[in-house]
């Protein structure tokens, strides 16, 4: 046997094995095509087995059940209701409805966003106000701590007959004995006239010394400092012209405090 014939035999055996496995034949060589056709002739040896007539009818039934029914036939079999007379119109209405729903949803979301932005701004304002109140409370607490824990003397202040205030004014100066830290609190002050300021004076052996200018808020004026002139023996609140020379009091005296009470 020639090498070529031997190789051809090997190829035939490979093809037979592939066919036995059920591999689909390829559009390859003539030898493969011949072997495949020969292979498929083998069952012709069998006695034919005509199927029952019902088999073909069952095949037809299965084909019919898997077939897509043409659209016009289905429409004829089931007339559409008046509200859905035209498929295109129904589709357009559905699209319009969907678009309307989308627009409504968008409007709702925009309104909600605006509401939320407003709420956020209000909350921010309230937070800032709370911060202010917290700072004021912290300051008042510090002053109260100084008064209740550190202050050793208090100078009650009383109105003088020359005072121009229409309502009664009261004030107190709290003084720490060791550090001379002091705190002035005046109640009942009206806002100063335009061009005038309320001023605190220390009464010393050397004369009156300016302690500071007060700002009135809701009828209350506060002033504090870590020290006071040495030998201070009393306090006075006067109404001075803005920008005037402040070496000594020149305006009306509103409050005087010359006697202290030990705490």
């Amino acid at each position: 046997m020639s090498r070529e014939a031997h190789r051809e035999d090997e190829v035939v055996l490979e093809i037979v094995d592939a066919l036995a496995r059920g591999d689909a034949p390829s559009a390859g060589s003539t030898l493969e095509r011949e072997t495949t056709e020969l292979w498929a002739l083998l069952p012709y040896e069998l006695e034919p087995a005509p199927p029952r007539p019902e088999v073909w009818e069952e095949i037809r039934g299965r084909l019919a059940s898997s077939r897509v029914v043409p659209f016009p036939e289905r429409r004829q079999a089931a007339p559409p209701p008046p509200a859905r007379a035209r498929r295109g119109g129904w589709g357009t209405s559905a699209m319009a409805a969907a678009l309307a729903v989308c627009l409504l949803g968008l409007g709702y979301l925009l309104a909600k966003t605006e509401q939320q932005q407003t709420a956020i701004a209000e909350l921010a304002a309230r937070l800032a106000a709370a911060d202010d109140r917290l700072a004021e409370t912290s300051r008042a607490r510090a002053q109260l701590d100084m008064i209740t824990r550190v202050a050793q003397h208090v100078y009650p202040m009383h109105s003088t007959p020359t005072g121009s205030q229409r309502r009664p004014i009261t004030g107190k100066v709290f003084v720490c004995g060791q550090h001379q830290q002091w705190y002035l609190n005046v109640q009942g002050l009206e806002a100063p006239p335009p061009g005038y300021d309320y001023c605190l004076w220390f009464e010393t052996a050397a004369g009156m010394v300016l302690g500071g200018t007060m700002t009135v808020r809701d009828g209350v004026a506060e002033l504090s400092a870590p020290s006071m002139p040495p030998g201070t023996k009393g306090f006075a609140v006067t109404l001075e012209k803005t920008g005037s020379h402040r070496e000594k009091p020149q305006g009306d005296v509103l409050l005087l405090g010359e006697e202290s009470i030990s705490l």
Partner: protein, 196 residues
């Protein structure tokens, strides 16, 4: 030599029918069914050894033909071969699913299938003529050569699997397979020419 009055295999007609089936022509599928259903059912019966199962398989084959007719490639095989390969492949798959391989390995059955004779007019003349030639040539083959072809075709066994199942050396299985194929190829040369 073939007798001059023998009917030729309608290969072109078969291919035309498949093309029509691909275009969803149910009548063309019916014509293919008329031509090949008996052959294909015989294949399924032979593989499955179960008439009801084989008829169900026949339905599956023609449904596959209906759905995959466009995939038929005449360069790869004739229509009859394409159909036989489909029927055989699906039947063997079903056989393996049923896990009755051991039972079918018992040997080539000598069952009388006279109860399934063709009804009048159901089979084409050329199929009968081809069948007669096949039977004649297969009878000429030694039993051991027929056995390896039978196991390969109807049980889907490769040569190695045949050797393992029968205890015959692999080289002997290959020799028997090759000798059988050569003899049949020579004897059925005219049929092959018609199919190519």
């Amino acid at each position: 030599m073939r007798a001059p009055e023998e009917e030729k295999v309608p290969q072109d007609d078969d291919a035309a029918l498949v093309e029509r089936v691909a275009r969803r022509d149910q009548e063309a599928l019916g014509e293919l069914y008329e031509r090949y259903a008996s052959l294909l059912l015989a294949v399924s019966r032979r593989v499955l050894d179960d008439g009801a199962d084989a008829e169900e398989m026949l339905q599956e084959v023609f449904l596959q033909v209906w759905n995959q007719a466009a995939r038929y490639d005449r360069r790869r095989s004739s229509v009859s071969t394409w159909l036989v390969l489909i029927a055989r492949s699906r039947s063997i798959d079903r056989l393996r699913t049923r896990q009755v391989l051991d039972r079918t390995l018992a040997g080539v059955r000598q069952e009388n299938r006279g109860a399934h004779t063709s009804p009048e007019g159901a089979a084409s003349v050329w199929i009968d003529q081809r069948r007669e030639r096949l039977r004649r040539e297969m009878r000429e083959l030694p039993a051991e050569q027929r056995q390896v072809l039978d196991l390969a075709f109807f049980q889907g066994m490769t040569q190695s699997e045949i050797a393992a199942a029968t205890g015959i050396p692999l080289g002997t299985v290959k020799t028997r397979t090759l000798l059988a194929m050569k003899k049949l190829r020579k004897a059925l040369e005219s049929d092959l020419r018609e199919l190519l």
